[in-house]
């Protein structure tokens, strides 16, 4: 609305006058956006409006920023591209540049989408108030997540990502016989245990949870009715060992009903 008349070229300071030949072209006129359109910022003096020492500084800045930008895009490209000659030679440099803040993974449902429903289930050994011990049935925590997601326009990350990704984390940091395959193994164990304990705390189990056991139940999605494929849709179980529950396995979620439920 205002500002349009302060066009490029004229330097704001005493040294600002640029040689007329190098005058900047006026930036494309902002299309009139009706009376309510906000004022667009007018162009500044640009490099032509600077005196020589400042022009040199600006040129250096241009070079540094351009190289930095290109380098960054190159690094991110190597990070998301499949392993190749370049990334094999300079993998460490790429990781140093990209990790942790520019880490990204866009293999969304690729190369193939997940074709199985993985349910994480838990059962608990309860020390009853009468002194007796009993073991609960398997409780399907993923089914609870699914029920919470159904009909929800804005599913919570606590339902959609928490348990699902924790289980992925566990599976990826353990061997098939449930031994940690790296330093993160014990973290993933503690994580799934704490999620299970949080979910159990919402239930009235009639006593204190002494031990828990988790398992996953994996069922391949039925083949489409319109295809001639047939899938084995039986559930396959991966059963983890019993874990004794310690104080470190009890998360506290203040402000929610969950803390109260455990008391």
């Amino acid at each position: 609305m205002h500002a349009y008349d302060e066009e490029a070229g004229e330097g704001p300071g005493p040294h600002g006058a640029a040689p007329p030949a190098a005058q900047a072209p006026a930036p494309p006129a902002q299309a009139a956006g009706g009376p309510a359109a906000p004022p667009a910022k007018a162009a500044g003096a640009g490099i032509n409006g600077l005196s020589l020492p400042y022009q040199i500084t600006a040129a250096v800045a241009l070079a540094v920023i351009a190289v930095g930008g290109l380098l960054h895009v190159g690094m991110v490209f190597l990070h998301v591209a499949p392993a190749n000659t370049l990334s094999k030679q300079h993998g460490e440099a790429v990781d140093d540049w990209v990790l942790p803040e520019f880490e990204q993974n866009w293999k969304l449902f690729a190369p193939n989408p997940l074709q199985q429903n993985v349910s994480v289930q838990v059962r608990a050994e309860i020390a009853g108030r009468d002194g007796g011990r009993r073991t609960t049935d398997w409780i399907d925590l993923s089914a609870e997540d699914g029920a919470a997601i159904r009909g929800a326009p804005l599913p919570s990350h606590t339902r959609q990502n928490e348990l699902r990704r924790a289980w992925d984390f566990y599976v990826n940091s353990h061997t098939d016989d449930n031994r940690p395959n790296g330093r993160r193994g014990h973290l993933s164990e503690q994580y799934v245990r704490r999620i299970a304990m949080l979910r159990l705390s919402e239930r009235e189990l009639g006593g204190r949870v002494e031990r828990v056991q988790l398992r996953s139940s994996t069922r391949t999605v039925e083949a489409p009715a319109w295809s001639d494929e047939r899938h084995d849709t039986r559930a396959y179980h991966r059963v983890l060992p019993w874990w004794t529950v310690t104080a470190a396995d009890l998360p506290a979620v203040a402000g929610g009903g969950r803390t109260e439920a455990r008391r």
Binding site: P12, Q30, W106, L114, R150, P155, R165
Partner: protein
């Protein structure tokens, strides 16, 4: 100069001059203007809005997601972060109070960025908020969080408040001659200092060095800018403007490249999958319990083999093709509309609203200016109409009296100020 160069034909010299002149013009353009004012503004509004919406939606679950005693406990996060050096101020203390403060600041940062109030400071606070919460519990996030994380880093380097922001409104008033007192700026600047100093004192818990340097440089640049405006409005101020434009333009290009990389990766990896090849890929997510908020709708779509195949192939084609269509405006705009529509569909069908919003915000960097200006005008008109209606409804006589008074008073004070 070599003798051969001297023998150049007049046409060749002419061509060289033309190239030089074009290069000169391009350099002048990227140093004098922050390009894409509407695109950068819509990206700012999109990401700030998505993150703000997310934080408010998860407010009841904030402890479970990021709190010190959530399932991903503070000590566990500390152990993981000791290995990857991710930035999160939540590692400074495991107290619940500190957590509440950080969550509140994240909300405020997102809100300020959304409306473009003190945008540079707001974008820095937004960055700190996003990284602090997301890096605190990395296993809670998904692709949507990932894009927000990246864009939070890029946005601090852009001049994204040139339009559609409170900052732009204030700048407009100042340009019109109104005296605008600047109290909030220096106050914010001073308020940031304790945080920055703490980050240095707790160096080993404050992420990688470059991020700390970036935050300090942003802070120093703000101070420098303020000084230059008052003490050195000539060349130094113009140089700062040039550097700010360069950073903005380069970052906007990086953002565009980033969006292309996202689609290229998503597309090219899909091409290799057997389910994307046989045209059934879409069917499977529609049958996953974690991604079927509306089973009836999912089943409806999954029931038609032809529809599933069309969407499956269409998705791959659009994702692979998108970066190449940037060379043709019309095709680019069509694909952009298709991708935004697909993400809107994903929001509902797969129950991923925040992911979809974030992706649409990222796509928006490629929207044509004409469309954005038109959209802005429409929204402004709608807002004005709504406000007027409310005022009319509040009492006919009062509204009319108010109008009359304003009309009478208008010429007086305005001209005095102007």
């Amino acid at each position: 100069m070599s003798p051969r160069a001297r023998e150049e034909t007049p046409e060749a010299t002419g061509a060289k001059e033309r190239v030089d002149r074009r290069l000169g013009r391009a350099v002048q353009r990227v140093t004098a203007t922050a390009l894409g004012p509407y695109q950068s503004a819509v990206v700012r509004i999109g990401f700030a809005g998505t993150w703000l919406f997310f934080l408010l939606r998860e407010f009841p679950h904030r402890y479970e997601l990021y709190g010190p005693d959530g399932p991903w406990g503070w000590d566990m996060a500390r152990e993981l972060i000791a290995g990857n050096h991710a930035f999160t101020v939540l590692m400074w203390s495991d107290s619940a109070l500190w957590f509440e403060v950080v969550y509140a600041l994240a909300v405020l940062g997102a809100a300020a960025l959304l409306v473009g109030w003190r945008t540079r400071a707001a974008s820095a606070l937004f960055l700190v908020g996003v990284l602090s919460l997301q890096n605190r519990s990395v296993f809670m996030g998904d692709g949507g969080d990932n894009v927000i994380h990246l864009m939070a880093l890029y946005l601090v380097l852009t001049r994204c408040s040139q339009v559609w922001s409170l900052d732009a409104r204030r700048a407009g008033r100042r340009a019109a001659g109104a005296r605008v007192r600047d109290v909030a700026g220096p106050l914010l600047w001073a308020a940031a200092l304790p945080g920055l100093v703490t980050a240095v004192l707790l160096r080993d818990r404050s992420g990688e060095l470059w991020l700390l340097v970036l935050l300090w440089l942003l802070w120093l640049a703000q101070g420098l800018w303020w000084l230059a405006e008052r003490r050195a409005p000539g060349q130094p101020r113009a140089l700062l403007d040039v550097v700010a434009n360069l950073l903005h333009n380069a970052t906007l290009a990086v953002v565009m490249a980033e969006v292309c990389l996202i689609y290229a990766t998503a597309g090219w990896y899909k091409v290799q999958g057997s389910r994307w090849q046989d045209g059934t890929a879409l069917y499977y997510p529609l049958k996953l319990d974690y991604f079927t908020p509306w089973p009836f709708l999912s089943d409806l779509l999954a029931a038609s083999g032809i529809m599933v195949m069309l969407v499956t192939y269409g998705t791959v084609i659009v994702q692979v093709a998108f970066p190449f269509t940037l060379f043709n405006r019309k095709v680019k705009n069509v694909l952009l509309a298709v991708m935004m529509a697909e993400h809107a569909g994903i929001a509902v069908l797969l129950g991923l609203p925040f992911f979809s919003l974030a992706m649409i915000a990222a796509d928006a960097v490629f929207l044509p200016s004409v469309f954005l200006v038109w959209l802005g005008a429409r929204i402004a008109r709608g807002r004005d109409r709504l406000l007027n209606r409310r005022r009319d409804g509040s009492g006919d006589g009062a509204a009319r009296a108010d109008d009359g008074e304003r009309a009478d008073a208008e010429p007086g004070p305005r001209t005095l100020v102007g």
